[in-house]
Amino acid sequence: MNPVHQASPLAAALETAGAWVLALLWVLPLTYALWAAIHPSAYSAHFVLTAPLTVENFVKAWNAAPFARYFLNTFLLVTMILAAQLVLCTLAAYAFARFDFYGRDIVFLLVLLQLMIMPDVLIIENYRTMGALGVVDTIPAIGLPYMASAFGIFLLRQTFKTVPRELDEAARVEGAGPLQVLLKVYVPLARPIYIAYGLVSVSYHWNNFLWPLIITNSVSTRPLTVGLQIFASSDQGIDWSVITAATLMTSAPLLISFLLFQRQFVQSFMRAGIR
């Protein structure tokens, strides 16, 4: 929309109403879950303002499954993947952006292939590979297929290409080697992109489910998503209040940081999306 077009007041009001109806529909599922989680089971589908508040559902959920361990596993997993991605993608992006080596263009196309054929669809063969490497049911096995991220390489390459050559050459004249130039010139200039990529990566892997479900089978390796699913599908007497409490609990760190840093989140996702 734009400042100049003047729609009739009625049309504008209708449009605003439409946007609000959609937005309310969009928050409804989450509010409903929140309602169920903070009220006793008897009120989970019974909406009266006098319903007593409780944290008991959260306590029950926390005690019913090893969520503390799952939180730790997810934290380790996400950190490990992000650290590896930052190093690997930075090096590869630097190579693609500033080195004229044999086969660069064809190799770059082969890298981009991963944007289409993601590890998520290669579960059968990757499971076999993990078996051969003897790492099934370990946290690194969950992360390995994602560490060399085509998306990260692409994003950083685009950024590095915008760095003026003069800066690069000035650093070289002063005697800096390729790695020093990378660390002193390129990486600091790409900081906003690193933050954007980091946020996207953390939310992706915090939420990832299918591959971790396949490759893990013990409490000490399962991330939150898999733990939640096992908790929710085992017989809890279908106590929705407890299940929604567990659901909200596992999403809480991302959800709360999003609500606190909304602008940064949206900006980061936008930055990662512009190519």
Binding site: M1, A7, A92, Q114, L144, T244, L255, G273
Partner: protein, 322 residues
């Protein structure tokens, strides 16, 4: 040491530049510098390349190879079976069902998600009141795990008890087992997928809209163009590269993301919600028929490859990877 014979006659002046270029290239120092660029480039790339080859390129190729072999069981090793797995696939009604479901699912989720994403972005980019609230509510599902989303919606859909049945109950409808019914189960999953992803794709449109020059709108207003006309003739065409990007990613997501199916229906009732990747997962990790699962994966890879080629042909002219 230059490669030219010093005793030879002086070349005419216009050749100097060429000679300078040739001798420069031939200088040992120059050669070494170019060599190091190759070596440094490959060394920097190596760690990422090893992982990419191991977990993307090798498995893609191995999938195709394995689809021509039988599943090794116990003492029995894999034997070459030619096209047997493919024949079995063509005769497998569940495969056709899953493929059909996936087509219906993709054809419903993708256009609706993209249209909603565009609408949301236009609203949020404008001067509508309550923008922060709108932005928050549209984007929030994006940061939630699909698995959490699915659990919340499972509660939503639960017969008699969930919110949807309660609302319908107010109008005198009887309870309905939304996810247990063959006619409604897939639609329920489609709604969940749209709810989860529309806000995500909204971001890409929002980014594109913010880069558009406001002068375009001013010029159009001076000409007396209506908003709809302006959108149809200016905004939408200018957003075409974004739309293409969003479309392709939405299609990939519709083949890639099956978390909600594992939680909500497990492919049922009667395979009406089995998508292709879900069926691969079942064949591979429930029935442990890895060869057949590889054969099914080949179909999925072929679909994604067609998409990749399509994007390449389309985008090549528009987006320059420079």
């Amino acid at each position: 040491m230059h490669g030219l014979d010093r005793g030879a006659a002086k070349p005419p002046p216009y050749q100097y530049a060429a000679i300078a270029a040739v001798t420069h290239l031939a200088r040992p120092n120059g050669t070494r510098f170019r060599m190091t660029a190759h070596i440094h480039g490959w060394l920097l790339l190596l760690p990422a390349a090893v992982l990419l080859v191991t977990f993307t390129h090798y498995p893609a190729v191995a999938t195709i190879i394995d689809s021509f072999f039988s599943t090794p069981r116990g003492q029995q090793t894999a034997a070459f079976v030619g096209l047997d797995n493919y024949q079995a696939m063509l005769d497998d009604p569940v495969f056709w069902r899953a493929l059909g479901n996936n087509i219906v699912y993709t054809a419903s989720v993708v256009p609706l998600t993209v249209a909603l994403a565009l609408l949301m972005a236009i609203w949020i980019n404008g001067k509508i009141s309550g923008r922060p609230f709108l932005r928050m509510s549209f984007f929030t599902p994006t940061v939630l795990p699909m698995i959490a989303v699915a659990n919340i919606w499972l509660f939503f859909y639960s017969p008699g008890y969930g919110l949807i049945d309660q609302v319908f109950g107010l109008f005198g409808f009887t309870t309905h087992n939304w996810l247990g019914n063959e006619h409604t189960a897939l639609a329920c999953l489609i709604v969940v997928a749209i709810w989860k992803d529309a806000g995500f794709f909204m971001i890409f449109y929002l980014a594109a809209l913010q880069q558009m020059s406001p002068q375009l709108a001013e010029a159009a207003a001076l000409e007396g163009a209506s908003r709809w006309y302006f959108f149809r003739r200016v905004t939408f065409p200018l957003l075409a590269p974004t739309t293409l990007f969003v479309l392709i990613n939405a299609i990939i997501n519709s083949f890639r993301l099956i978390d909600h199916i594992v939680v909500m229906t497990r492919g049922g009732p009667d395979n009406t919600t089995a998508l292709l990747l879900f069926y691969i997962y079942e064949v591979g990790f429930k029935f442990w028929d890895t060869a057949y699962a590889a054969t099914l994966t080949v179909v999925l890879l072929a679909l994604l490859a067609v998409l990749a080629i399509g994007q390449f042909v389309f985008l090549d002219r528009r987006i320059h990877y420079q």
